[in-house]
Amino acid sequence: MEVAVLSGKGGTGKTTVATNLARMLGWNYADCDVEEPNGFLFLKPEITLSETVTVKSPQIDGSLCVSCQRCVQSCQFNALAYAGQRIMLFSKLCHGCGACMYSCQTGAIKEVPRPVGHVDIGSSAGLRLVQGVLDIGEPMAGPVISKVKQMLNEGDWLVDCSPGSSCNVVKAIDGADFALLVTEPTPFGLHDLDIAARLAEQMGIPHAVIINRSDSMDGIIHRYCQDNDISVVGSIPFSRKAALLYSQGNMLLDDSEYAAVFERLGSALKEAIKCS
């Protein structure tokens, strides 16, 4: 089973929730926030395997090219140009669709793999852990996220997603059995929670909410959830202690008070999944 952890707003505590719940429930953990994966900072796994992720990139053989420019015209992403009697490739704009290769009449274009990131696989305290890492400067996270998702074979997984509701989130939660929406009781948190909830709704993924940094403002989230018939599986109290543990790269579970909080959250989540 795959439970996706997303939030809409950034910094609400997706990784805090996903890593602590993973350890509490004994579930595996996958970090699909490949632009800035940070779950491994807390779970501290031993990485046993690292696989490079590549995309297909055209390679042009100048000796076969007849400068017909069909490839330039076929490219929908402006990744090719023709200037100074040669084809120029802007590889970071290339989506690897292969249209240039198909349009080439002389077979001057072949596809070669271009590395854009890697996937690390490891384990910690009996859990299987996977993270995707996009190379710095690479614009397209999709292929790395797909590779992470391929690694999620049998077992139960918590899938840590990027903030927002972009393609990267859609890709990460596609196929998830359940979505856990982490929010904070602020107007921003609520605004972006609504976006995340509508995304899950549209993709037909049953979902529930966790309120992190819970304080006297929780009412705005509860009201929203009541109005929209979304269950709240629990809340994580705001405290300086929690912030300190996080800043030192420690798990909230290390603290007995928070361990009790996550124990309650874990069983409430299982209950919510059962009822969905």
Partner: protein, 127 residues
Amino acid sequence: MRVCVSSTGPNAAAKVDSRFGRAPYLVFFDTEEQTYDFMENPGLGSAHGAGIAAAQEVVNQKAEVLVTGNLGPNAKAVLDAAGIAVYQTDGRTVSDELTAYKKGELLPLDRVSAPHTGLGQQQRRAR
């Protein structure tokens, strides 16, 4: 010789657009024939690579000179490969810029702007 100017409108009285890839029009002026061609900029509607699309159009139109305000690294690479000289606009009308070019008053543009400059601050930050 053909000179290209990035323009806000399809006429010589229009103001120059300091953006290159996202300028609505590319104006091509033939210095021998004294004639204008007003083309819609193919970069304008591109989701990505607007500068490359616009630069390709300048190359295809066989211009030897471009007058614009900002040029990104990719557009510059295409124009450089084709040997097209680029001059800095002062933000006047197309015809004023062409007059200034003919008098040799324009400065070469060799500074490369940050990618996505033409999208404006808000869109550049939002993702």
